[in-house]
Structure formats: C-alpha cells, structure tokens
Subunit: 258 residues, 4 copies
C-alpha cells in the first residue's frame, strides 16, 4: 500500500501539500494513519504539468522524508496540476522505474493497491499492451502495466471507459488464473487538462480516498488520506466511485467495470 495526492486548481507550490502540512505526503511516508503498513518509504515521485508539452517527473528510491532534492524542488515549483506518491513496495524491486507516477507522452498515472496474484497474471496482462506502448515499460510493477493498458484501451478519448475495460480485463484474467486475492485499485491519472481518480476493489474494500474542494485556491485536492486535521474539509469518496476533475468542476459518480 502507498499514499498519494493529486491536485488541480490555481497554481500552488508543490510543498504546500507535499511538505508543509502536519500530515503532508512526506509526513505520511514515515507514518500514515489509514493504511495497514504505516511506513511508505520504498521510493517516491512527483509529476507536474508546467510550461512544456510533457509533464516534469522526479522520482527516487529513498524515503521521501530524507531527500533534500525533493524538498528543494517542492519549494521552487509551482503548478496547477500535479500528482505525488510515496511507495510501500509489495513484492517488486525498489528501483526508480518502479516508482510512481509513471509518465508517457502527456500522461501521468499513479496507484495505491494491488493486482492479486500479480506474478500469475503478469504475462497474460502484459500481452495486452500493444507494441507501441510496450517499449515504454521500464519496470516490473502491476501499476505500470495498468497505466500502459489504460493508454492502450482508449484513455485519451474515454477515460472512464478505459478504466472500466481495463479493470474488466484484469478481473477476467485473475479469474482465469484462479487468483483468489482481490484487485484493489485507488488510482489517479491525468492528460494535463483533466484529473481522474478511481476508488475501486473487486472485494468492495478499496484503499481510502478523500476529496478536498474547500481550499483557498478553489481547486480540488484528492488524497489517500487527509494531509491535515481540518475535520470539515475532507470528504470520503465512496467505494466503487469514479472522480472527474476539471476547470469546470468535480463529478463523483458510481463506477462499474465493463
């Protein structure tokens, strides 16, 4: 299990959410409250949209709390759309290319959860990644495979449809491989314009997800768990939900696999 946060709104310095609040993402890397493993110290990453066509990406294998580069970058960089993640590895190596977010073209993706029985379904699922996206595969996580599948299954034209199709594919493959462990999937993805998030699990027990739309910047902050103790700001996103955030507003709707 990991912790992440994503933001879309008026430009803020990354540190405003990553480093400064009492339960900031960096604080959560050492001690989070709402996950079974409270330490999320198997690497971290931040992806942000700035002036360039492609997002910036900064990932490393250290615990987020001890990386002075992360602190300095989060202090300097201001963005109106970014994703940040601290990792608790579940079986795959602690290497940069297994750290979230993952990036390809304009897209960023990050994930908290797990495909049950990953080693048993890995090959079959990777076989659904088309050649043009497979060359982007640099690590070995289930999360990166999901990202490339989402791109392959039409995320750019129908985000929710791609999530529905990919989750359906994964669950059918898990069934075919007689995997009993659940798929748990609380994730965020962006194309640089809109921000999407999902809270879903095949056993109806997905990792937590909270939405904060009451910030001074007027934007939306979506997080694995609250980054401060302001009790009235954080709305829990219901299980089996899909979240769409853009400049026009926020829609949270029930999610169903294809």
């Amino acid at each position: 299990m990991c912790r992440w946060l994503a933001y879309l709104g008026a430009p803020v310095f990354l540190e405003d959410f990553i480093a400064k609040p009492c339960q900031s993402l960096i604080a959560q890397s050492r001690h989070c409250r709402e996950a079974k493993s409270e330490v999320n110290a198997d690497g971290f990453g931040v992806g942000w949209y700035g002036e360039r066509e492609r997002p910036g990406l900064f990932r490393d294998v250290r615990p987020a709390w001890s990386d002075e580069n992360l602190l300095s970058i989060a202090h300097q960089i201001r963005s109106s759309l970014f994703l940040a993640h601290v990792r608790a590895a579940t079986g795959t190596a602690t290497i940069r290319t297994n750290c979230h977010p993952f990036a390809a073209d304009r897209y960023l993706f990050m994930h908290n959860g797990q495909i049950g029985g990953w080693q048993r379904v890995r090959r079959a699922l990777e076989a659904h990644i088309p050649d043009n996206h497979y060359a982007s595969r640099q690590g070995t996580t289930d999360s990166e495979a999901i990202f490339l599948l989402l791109l392959a299954f039409g995320f750019s034209s129908d985000a929710e449809g791609a999530f529905a199709a990919v989750i359906d594919l994964i669950e059918r493959q898990m069934a075919a491989s007689a995997v009993n462990e659940p798929l748990r999937f609380t994730a965020a993805m962006s194309d640089g314009e809109k921000l999407y998030a999902i809270r879903y699990a095949s056993d109806l027990r997905p990792p937590t997800l909270y939405l904060n739309t009451r910030g001074s910047g007027g934007g939306a902050l979506i997080v694995s768990e609250p980054i401060d103790d302001a009790t009235t700001c954080w709305d829990s996103v219901p299980p089996q939900s899909f979240v769409r955030i853009d400049r026009a507003g926020i829609v949270v709707s029930p999610f169903r696999r294809s």
Copy 2:
C-alpha cells in the same frame, strides 16, 4: 535514535542476527519496539572481521529492509566478530559517510544516542581530534567525531579509559557551551579482538542495551533491543555500564567518566 547489534563468538552467518529472527535488525529498521522513533531507515551498515587485517565495511543510505545487497552479503558472510547498525538520523545528512559503523585501521565503532547541542560543540570537539585522525573524518556526525576522539585518547591501550576521558571531554565542552540537552551514548567498538560496549547518559537515561550469552554458539550478542521474543535470554545492561567481551568471557561493570 538508531538500533544496532554486535557479536563475538563462534562464527555465524551475519543473517542469523541481521535478517532471520522475527525482530532482526532489518525488522527493527522498519519497526523497532524500544525507541521513540520506531523507523530506522536513514541508512545502514555492517562491519565484520574476516581473514584480512582490516575489517570489511558495507554501508548504504537506503532502508535496510529494501536492500537486496545487504540480504545477499548477510547470507554469504560468516564472521566471529561483527557490528551492524540501522540509522535514524538526528539532523545530519543521509549520506554513506554518516552511516555507522565507522572504520579506521583495525577499528570499528557504532553509536546510538546523541551529543546534545551538537552544532554548538562540534567545532570545539573536532579541535581535539589530532591531525593524523582528522584526515579520516569523512562525514559530519557527532558519532564519527566520538570515534576519532576515542582513537586519539588511547582506545588501543586502554579502552575504558578512553571512553571515560572522551565522555568527560564532551560533557565539559557541553557545559562550557551552556548546552542543556543530555549526552546519550549507547555504543560499541572493537579492535578485531575484543568487543566493548557502553550504556551511558549524562541524565542517567541512556538508550537501552541487552546482552544475550545463552546462544548456541557460546558467544555474546549485544543489542539495542532483543531480536526475538525469547524472554529468558535477554539481560538488560544497567544504565552507566561498561561491557567487555572477549574469548575469555564477559564483564559488565559500572562506568564513570574521568
């Protein structure tokens, strides 16, 4: 605060204490029981005496639990005398040269604790390190400075006397600099033949230290906290004690600064 263990006895594989027990040092890097900060993930190190005149030294800045090199080396290497450490940094950088143990010539040293007000006494204490040892200073920790002071103050001929003199020096400097925080000092040091440990604090509240002399190998294992739940094996070393371990036996005696 950090966690460490040191062993002198019949040769064992390093992993027998570092990796295999339920509360092994690697387990303690993620979650220790008897320290305020339960995560000790700001680097690790192991120093061991083998066939060569000088000890081996392997240190890195990752959390011990995620370093596959550490697991492999601990699985391969057998030693009758070694020191191992997982670090929780207290203000100095997470760099290899700040990781314990520290090595110079035949000597290894590691430490759990802190010199109160380190930044205020650092220069004055470093000034007591003679030139021939100062060139060995590669980091910025109080621990490394203590190590070089111990060498300079005659550790090779009188280990306990060196500890007494150095602690006296530190406390007098802290007083001169009007430092109110305590000196806390639970440490181990070896010359490749004997193993010494100390549990001391200027405020009489030193970090914990336990001794296990009932292992099958007949040697002595000395640890920050027990590495398993065998309740009858672990003797708490009293505060303000000095421990001497060699092939002839173990002596625990009260310790007083010069």
Copy 3:
C-alpha cells in the same frame, strides 16, 4: 558495450582481478581499451560462489570506481568461482535490476553485447520465457531475457545446446521482425561448478574475449580485455567460439547456432 571478467581456479580475493591490476575491471570502468565506448559507468556487479548453495550477488548503479563498498567486499571475499561486470547501458535504465550478473537459483549470467532492434523483438522473445522463470524477471534488459531463456532451454543439462538453441531463436525472431542490426553476444554463465563463456556475433564481429590460463593459481581467467600488460599471458578467444572451464581443464571449441 560493457566489460566483464570471470574466474575459476584456486580461491583468490576478488580484488586480485577486480581492483588491483593496472587494468583491473574497476580501471576499465573509467577507461577501457578495446571497446568503442571507453566508459563503463552505468552500474556494476559481482556474483561469487562461496559456502552457500546460492551465489552471493552485489550490484549497484554507481560507477565501479567510486563505490567504496565494492572495494571493501572485493578485499574481504575469497572465491574459487566468480563473475564481475561493469556496465555501459545501451538504451535501458540505470537501475540495479538491469545490472549484471543476473542470478537465479545456482546460476549466474553476464553479457557484453546487444540484441539488435531489442525493442522490436522484446515481447516476442519474452513470450518464450516460461512462467516459472518469468517471475524472476526484475529488469528490462535483453541480457536478463537471454539468461532466463538459457535456463528455460535446458542450460542445466546441456549448456552449449542451450546457447545454440537460444541464439537460433533470437536470430530467427530478429529476421521475422526485419531487424538489420546484428546480435552480438560475448557472455559468461555458471552453475557453481563449471564456467561457460561464448564469443559470438551474427555478423562475425563479436566483442573481444581473452583467456588467461597461466596465472599462479592454476585456474582460468576469462575477460573482455586483459587486466594487465603481460603480453604473453592473454590468448584471444576466436570469434564464434564456446569455452568450457571446469576443474578438469579448459576446452575452446567452434560454436554454431542450432
């Protein structure tokens, strides 16, 4: 292109070949003589057989010349069979799991060369790795894929046959994918008892390989390029050769793909 060395013979300290000679493997990491890219600083690794059933493995992403852990380990560890490698990446990430040697069970493998058009044949070749070996795939290099294919194609019972079959498979796939770049393949592999090496290229221009059987230890040292300037010690292994080294002796024979 990379540089590597492998040794089978009377036990020697790893540093005797890795660190001490004037053109040691560490020296070659900064400046090698017989490869187009003279800098081999995208990680390193050493695998050695010791007292345990499985080999030890130590790999990292730094340049070999700046890693004090490597120096210390190579100074301490003595082995009668080991493989060591310094990497010059050719398109895949600088992460530990892409560093050589690769290990699985009792087996170690390392490689200097390249599968031409790797990104175009990767998926097809990976599809030939059976499930039980695919779970061992932790990186994304062509080299690791070749290693797992060799294990799958019967290396344990017929080493040369496995090499012949796997190279045949690769070249047929390259042809099917209309790859014009060559396969270049100078590699070593061991099961802990015997040491095998190959010097082969589809265009008859494989990376260099030298054999030294005149060392004082009576064993065989096989290297990408000589580690010292002793002109009479180093025999160039002819292109398209297969080398078998065990306690009984050394056989160099012509190699042909299946």
Copy 4:
C-alpha cells in the same frame, strides 16, 4: 577537475545549456575536452534562482548522463540565473553533500580546481569559518570550505575583496604547512542578483574558463569549456582574472590576492 557552467540573462530552459548542445555539460560529464581527466562522473548539481527567496538545488551522486531526473528538471525549469556542475572527485567521497553547487541562504558557489595538500591545511582553514557558517558544513571538500570562508570574509558586501582575502588566507596557510602543490581555482558564485567568476592559480596555470556574450538571449554564459563548436562565440578568460556579470554588463579584470 570538474566542469561547470553559469548563466545570467533572459530566462532560458536549463536544458538549453546543460543537455541540448553537442558539448553540453551532460556531454562533458562523459567526455570533456580541456581537462586532464575527461570523465566527470562523480556526481552533479544544479542551482537556480526562481520565484523564491532562496535558490533551488538539485544534486546527486550519479553520472549526469544517466540521471533521468536531471533531464526532466532541466527540460521544465526556466531561469535567468543558474549554476551547474559535473564533478570529478579528487580524494573526497562521492556523496551528495560533496557535490557542487553549494548553497547557503541566497548564495550559490561552485568550483573547479583544488587546494594543494588539502588534508594538511584542512583543519587550519576550517578554523577560520565562524560558528554561524560552520553549521552549514555538510561535506568534507575544500570547495565547500572555500564557500563558507567567502561568506565569512564579506562576500555579500565586497565580492572581489572576499575572494582576494580568502585566496590570500589559503596561500599563506599552504605556505605555513609547507605545501608545494598549487592552489588552482576556477569558480563561480552568485547572490541571486550578480554572477561572479574567477580564474586563478598560485602557479599561474588555472583551469580554463570561457565567456560567451553573443547568445540570442543577450546574457552571459561562462563555462569551463565551450558547449558547442561555434568558434567565434567563446572568449577565453585570461588567467588571474575576475569576472563580474550583472544586468548592466560584464567586466573582466585582472585579479590579485590581498
């Protein structure tokens, strides 16, 4: 010996000088032309002034050419004043805190060169760093010590005077310690408004320094060696020179120690 570049002018993306030109700083990390050691792969760093009061700082121990974080950050960040450095270590450890640039408050500093006999003069020179600056010392290089001395000797009010006084101090200490090796010192420093550089050596053979004032942005780029092959753009700065660059213009003047 190292390689560096510094820029003051209209905002440009960092990559325009660090990554894109044929002989960019990243290219020089693998193969530079005008230094004895052509590989500069013992870490790198970039410091830039942006919207915040203090500069951003990003440093790591890998070779610059293999760090995808550096590429991404250099692609995203635009600055009108920045310093970047690739390191070739000369005796001190490859750790982040020994990488240039060094930062304190508003100030950035980086250096190519060496204090001869550093280990013999280190303690004496460190003794001249006042307490308030000594707490900033996180590494062990001569370069970081020079930086803290420059701050202590009045850089903020008289940059050239501080350089003159510090160099005088160093040379007198080297003489007192009977050091015969030269002081070589080609360095850059900034307060966020102005950019200063020096090319100086006690033996009149300082490392190279070039100035380019013909860029399209109208600013000044000052470099260890040219980053492209445009023969008419690069003016060699004479030995024993001091360079002052600000929004008003550029002054190159002879430099003399106090």
